[in-house]
């Protein structure tokens, strides 16, 4: 499953932002095991690579959002640490996120340093 390096899956439909998250992860010395733009891609990639953590954007292209994707991945048997990155903290979305037992919730805009700190805190050393 994981080697010395923790694998992190980036789920974000804006490619520049995905690149940004990926670069933060790589600078930390972690490995990006994939970049998904939709819930379906995220589920498929998680099934193949079994990441230790997922940076999950909530609003995604397509009919299913990041919370749906996280639930499907859990149902498939994986237990990655989920870090939600959300653009809006509407009560309804907040409630759904909290119910899916996330490792952390970050509200955009997210600074690189903030992301780094959160990943360090969430991942087992």
């Amino acid at each position: 499953m994981s080697n010395d390096q923790h694998q992190v899956l980036v789920v974000e439909d804006n490619m520049i932002t995905a690149l940004y998250y990926a670069s933060v992860v790589e600078v930390m010395g972690l490995k990006v095991c994939g970049k998904a733009a939709t819930a379906e891609q995220a589920i498929a990639m998680a099934a193949n690579t079994h990441p230790a953590a997922i940076l999950m954007d909530v609003r995604l292209r397509g009919s299913r959002d990041g919370i749906d994707a996280a639930e499907s991945i859990r149902e498939a048997g994986d237990e990655p640490r989920i870090i939600y990155i959300t653009g809006s903290n509407e009560p309804e979305t907040m409630k759904r996120m909290n119910e899916s037992n996330p490792a952390a919730i970050l509200v955009k805009p997210v600074m690189a340093e903030q992301l780094e700190r959160t990943l360090r805190k969430v991942l087992p050393h």
């Binding site: 520049i16 932002t17 955009k108 805009p109 340093e113 903030q114």
Partner: protein, 523 residues
Amino acid sequence: MAGRGSFRPLNRNPRWEDPLSDRLTITPATVRAYRRAARWMAVAAALIAAVSLIGGTLLGIPALHQVFPDFSHMAPSTALLIVLVCSAVYLTSGGRRPLRIIPLTLIAVTGAVAVAQLGLYFWSGINLELYLYRTADPAGLGSMSPAAAFCFCLAVLCVALDQGPGRRVEHLYAGVAALGLCIALMDLIAYSFDVKALYAVELFRAMAVHAAFCFLLIFLALLCRRPTWSWMAVATGPLNGSTAFRRMLPAAILVPWLFCWLGLQASNRALLTPNFRLVLVAAACIVVLLAVLLINGRRQNLVSALRSQALVDLQTAVAQRDLLLREVYHRVKNNLQLVEALLLLQSQKIESQQARDAIHTTRQRIHMLGMVHQMILEGGDYDSVDLNTFLKDVVHSLAGAFGAGERGIQVTYGGQPTRCTLEEAIPLGLLTNELMSNTFKHAFEGRESGRVDVTLTARGDFLRLTVADNGVGRGGRPINGRISLGSDIIRALVAQLDGSLKETAENGTRIEVTIGQPAGVDL
């Protein structure tokens, strides 16, 4: 800020002010139209009187004098006074302004003659008319009737009362004119029903039908020349109730007249019993009035429904606007995040530490802008921001970004709940960002620990932001000197906020940014 935005006319007599002032809604164009109509009515009444005087009295044409053979004559004095009153009304109903003395003289003469006529009639039993102008009419039907003299007095009183606005005067004016209108109307109705019944009443004796019509015109003209006064404001107004009044007006006049006339006809032809005729008239009046009320009710309901629909449409439009605004703020925030991402990606390709630091500082400023937009989206109020929560977030974000925890620096924030506009929140956020960045970069050089206290004091328009540390002090880096872009930005932001900056060095550095004057108690 006294008097700002208040353009309501001074209310000289508050007790008489209607809660919903109709007068304010009547346009000047409407007022001009009514005054024009008043002038025309005065001209028409004067013409009728003049024709009766010249054609009837001087040339002896009975039809112009009497209208019908068994009707009263219009007395020459009545005709003359009508011409005088109409001239006074015409001259004071807008258009070109004449010398005040002319209409005043006209009404003074009219008033004197009318009062003399009434006085002589009631107290001496002498009919002045019969001495000045003797007709062959033995019943004395060719003289000025007491009712006509009384009407002249009312008209003169109206013109005399018309000396400028004032609630009491307006109500009195409209009341007097309405009374005159009633007398004229009663006379006309009597002519249409039964002339002999009219002549049996002493007061109305010898009031000619065309004189009564002239009085109707005169009192209407008097009311129309002041369309915003008293109850005339309701009759002439542009709003719903006024429109309904004008719509119902013909029915309100014709229906009672018509039914009573029908009752009279039945009476004349001896149809049905007298009391049952009255029952029929009463029942018919009730039915027609109810029908009219129902029609009006239906229209009012329609207006209500339209208004409710308009309100719903408006609410939908506002909700849509809010949604759009939200979307715009969201996109702005996302774009700021994108700029931040691009800057980070770029800085990773750069070797020079100095350049990387510069980009880091810029990234932090842009992040702060993104945070303001997030704050607006959270608040749901697009006009103001919860400044206290916003600054708390900024302080914590900065403490994290500069690794305060790892460096042993304790960061506290203390503030009071206050709201401000986006225009103030952005510079205040940026200012906090600059001041704290300076502190983290320079205040703790060579130190293992330290503390930074940020406080926000807000009271009314007064606001103070304090950033204090217990570090090594600024030394050769005065904030007002030209050292770095940071201090340029700080000075620009303080100027933008129209505030002042005070720096004290005592056990570290303490910077206070003050906006507005402290109100009352010392802060």
